[in-house]
C-alpha cells in the first residue's frame, strides 16, 4: 500500500529506522558496465534490481530507495533516454514495491542533475524545477511512500527538488547533501562552502521533512555532521555515508570499510542524533545487516 510516508515520519519520532545501502556497487557487481545507464535496468534487468531491493529488506532495511538516482530527464538525455523518463521512474518504483514487506516503505530516489545553475553554470532554476517535477510526478504515480532527494551538491538544486516534490504530492521529503571533509580545517562543508548547520536550516526552511547527509566519506565524518545539525534542529535526521573512501587498484574500485569496520561507528552515529541510518557507495546488504543489528538493539531499550 503506497503513500504511507507520514507513518514512517511518525515512527521515527519513537525509534530509529534503517535505510538501505549502495546500489551502484551492487549493479556493477551484477554486470552493469561503465557508460551504461543504471536506470535502464528497471526495464531490461528487473530481476536484478528487484533482487537488490529484496536483499536489503531481508538484511533489515525498514525502507529502501528506488533505482532512480539518475532519473531526471537531464541525466537520462545523456543516454538518449530522456523520452523514457516517466516509464523508467515508474518501473523503478514498481520493482521496489513488489518486494516491499508489510510494514516496509519505498522512497523515491532523486539525485542531482550534474548541471550547475546560472550564473555559474548552464541551467536555470526553472529548468531544474521542471526536471525534478517530472521525475517526482512519475515516482508518485508509481507509488512511493516518500522521497529521498539525495547526494545534492549545492543548495539551490536541493531546494528545487524539494519544491518539485511538494508541488506534485503531499508526501514527506527527506533531503541529504554531500559534504567533503576539509583536512586543512578539520571540518565538513558542501562543495559550495556551507556548514552542516547552514544546510540543515536551509533545507528545512525549503520544506524538507527529514534532513541529513549521504555519500561523502565514512561514518566517522557522518557523526560530526549529524552532531552539528542536531545542535540546531529537533527534526528527524538521517545519515547514510559511504563505506569509507574509494580505493582504485589495477582498474578496480573498492571501498575502505568492510561491514565489520563500518558498523563500529554506528552506535556513535545514533548517539550523535541520527534517527535514520543506512549506507551509501561501497556498502552491501551485509553492511546493512550489521547496521540493523545495532539499530534493533537500540529499539529494545
Amino acid at each position: 500500500m503506497p503513500g504511507r510516508g507520514w507513518e514512517l515520519i511518525r515512527r521515527v519520532q519513537a525509534e530509529p529506522l534503517v535505510f538501505d545501502g549502495g546500489y551502484g556497487t551492487m549493479l556493477f557487481a551484477a554486470g552493469l558496465v561503465d557508460g551504461a545507464c543504471p536506470e535502464l535496468w528497471n526495464d531490461t534487468r528487473p530481476d536484478i534490481v528487484r533482487g537488490i531491493h529484496r536483499a536489503y529488506f531481508e538484511a533489515g532495511s525498514d525502507f529502501v530507495e528506488t533505482n532512480t538516482f539518475g532519473g531526471t530527464r537531464l541525466k537520462l538525455d545523456a543516454y538518449k533516454l530522456g523520452d523514457r523518463t516517466r516509464e523508467l521512474n515508474e518501473k523503478g518504483v514498481r520493482l521496489a514495491r513488489e518486494v516491499c514487506p508489510p510494514g516496509g516503505y519505498v522512497a523515491g530516489s532523486i539525485g542531482p542533475t550534474s548541471h550547475i545553475v546560472e550564473p555559474y553554470g548552464d541551467v536555470t532554476e526553472a529548468e531544474l524545477f521542471e526536471n525534478f517535477r517530472e521525475q517526482a510526478e512519475a515516482l508518485a504515480e508509481g507509488g512511493v511512500d516518500l522521497f529521498a532527494v539525495e547526494t545534492m551538491m549545492y543548495p539551490e538544486e536541493a531546494l528545487a527538488a524539494i519544491r518539485a516534490c511538494k508541488a506534485v504530492t503531499d508526501l514527506p521529503v527527506m533531503t541529504t547533501m554531500f559534504f567533503q571533509y576539509e583536512e586543512l580545517h578539520d571540518r565538513d562543508r558542501t562543495m559550495w562552502g556551507e556548514s552542516p548547520p547552514e544546510v540543515a536550516q536551509k533545507l528545512l526552511a525549503g520544506g524538507a521533512d527529514v534532513v541529513g547527509m549521504n555519500c561523502g566519506r565514512g561514518p566517522d565524518r557522518a557523526i560530526v555532521i549529524i552532531r552539528e545539525m542536531r545542535a540546531v534542529t529537533p527534526v528527524a535526521l538521517i545519515a547514510y555515508p559511504n563505506a569509507g573512501l574509494p580505493i582504485t587498484r589495477g582498474g578496480r574500485v573498492t571501498y575502505e570499510l568492510g561491514p565489520e569496520e563500518m558498523v563500529r561507528d554506528y552506535p556513535g552515529l545514533l548517539d550523535a542524533g541520527a534517527n535514520i541510518v543506512g549506507a551509501c557507495c561501497g556498502s552491501t546488504p551485509e553492511h546493512i545487516r550489521r547496521i540493523a543489528e545495532v539499530v534493533r538493539a537500540r529499539r529494545g531499550r
Binding site: D34, G35, A78, S114, I116, P119, Y120, G121, Y154, E182, L184, H185, R189, M191, W192, G193, L245, P246, I247, T248, G251, R252, V253
Partner: protein
C-alpha cells in the same frame, strides 16, 4: 606604455575577484597598446588563475568563485585566442584532443587546461566530459591529433583512463599520439601504471608537459 608598465597585477586581481568586465576591458587596452597576446595570458590571466587554484585548495574559495573566475578568464582569452593562432608563424605546437574520462562529469579543471593549451599555441579539440574511449579514438582519427589529454576527478573514473589508452592502442594509434593525464586524484605513479606518457599536476605544468610531449610526438599529418 611598455609591457613593463602594464598593470598585470590589477588584471590578475580582477580575475581573482571574478570581475569579467575589468578583465575584458584591460585585455582590450593591452592589445591597443600593442602588447603581445601571449604576454597578457602568461603575465595577467595565468597568475590570477594560479591564485584562484590556491585559494580553492585552501578552502577559501568554493566552486562558485572558481567558476566566476574561469568566466573572467574567458573574457580575456576569447579576445586573445584568435590573435595567437593568427600570429603563429611556425604553425601550431601540436594538435590536442582533450576530454574528461568516461563516467566523469567534472570539467572545470579540464577546461582550464584546454584554455591554457590554446593560449600556449596548441590546436585544441575539447571533447567535453564523460567521453567514451571510442570517442577519443574517433577524434584522434578525425583531427590527426598528436596529443591526447584525459582528465579524471574521481578515483572511480580513473580506470576509464586506462581503457582509453587501451582503445588507442587497439586502434593502432599508440605510436602516433602521446597521452597526458591529470586531475586531482591522478598521480605520476598512476600515470606510469596505466602507460600514459605524461602527467601534470596543474594547468601550468600541463602546458610545460604538452610542449615536451609535442617535441617527442610524431609530426601531425596535414
Amino acid at each position: 606604455m611598455s609591457d613593463n608598465d602594464f598593470p598585470y597585477p590589477l588584471m590578475a586581481r580582477a580575475l581573482i575577484l571574478g570581475d569579467r568586465e575589468t578583465v575584458g576591458r584591460m585585455t582590450r587596452e593591452g592589445l591597443d597598446q600593442g602588447l603581445d597576446p601571449k604576454a597578457i595570458i602568461f603575465k595577467g590571466l595565468i597568475p590570477g588563475m594560479d591564485v584562484v587554484g590556491e585559494k580553492f585548495r585552501r578552502n577559501e574559495y568554493y566552486v562558485p568563485q572558481v567558476l566566476l573566475s574561469a568566466r573572467a578568464m574567458y573574457a580575456g582569452l576569447d579576445l586573445l585566442k584568435p590573435l595567437i593562432t593568427a600570429s603563429a608563424t611556425s604553425g601550431y605546437l601540436g594538435t590536442v584532443v582533450i576530454g574528461t574520462a568516461q563516467g566523469d562529469l567534472h570539467d572545470i579543471g579540464k577546461n582550464l587546461v584546454a584554455m591554457m593549451l590554446e593560449g600556449a599555441g596548441f590546436k585544441v579539440f575539447n571533447l567535453g566530459r564523460d567521453v567514451a574511449p571510442e570517442t577519443f579514438v574517433q577524434a584522434v582519427r578525425e583531427h590527426h591529433a598528436t596529443i591526447v589529454g584525459i582528465s579524471a576527478l574521481m578515483t572511480t573514473t580513473m580506470p576509464a583512463m586506462k581503457r582509453t589508452i587501451d582503445a588507442l592502442a587497439a586502434a593502432g594509434f599508440r605510436d602516433r599520439v602521446r597521452v597526458m593525464v591529470g586531475g586531482a586524484p591522478v598521480t605520476q605513479a598512476f600515470a606510469d601504471e596505466i602507460g600514459a606518457d605524461g602527467y601534470a599536476k596543474d594547468s601550468t605544468l600541463a602546458v610545460v608537459k604538452a610542449k615536451e610531449l609535442a617535441g617527442a610526438a610524431a609530426p601531425a599529418r596535414p
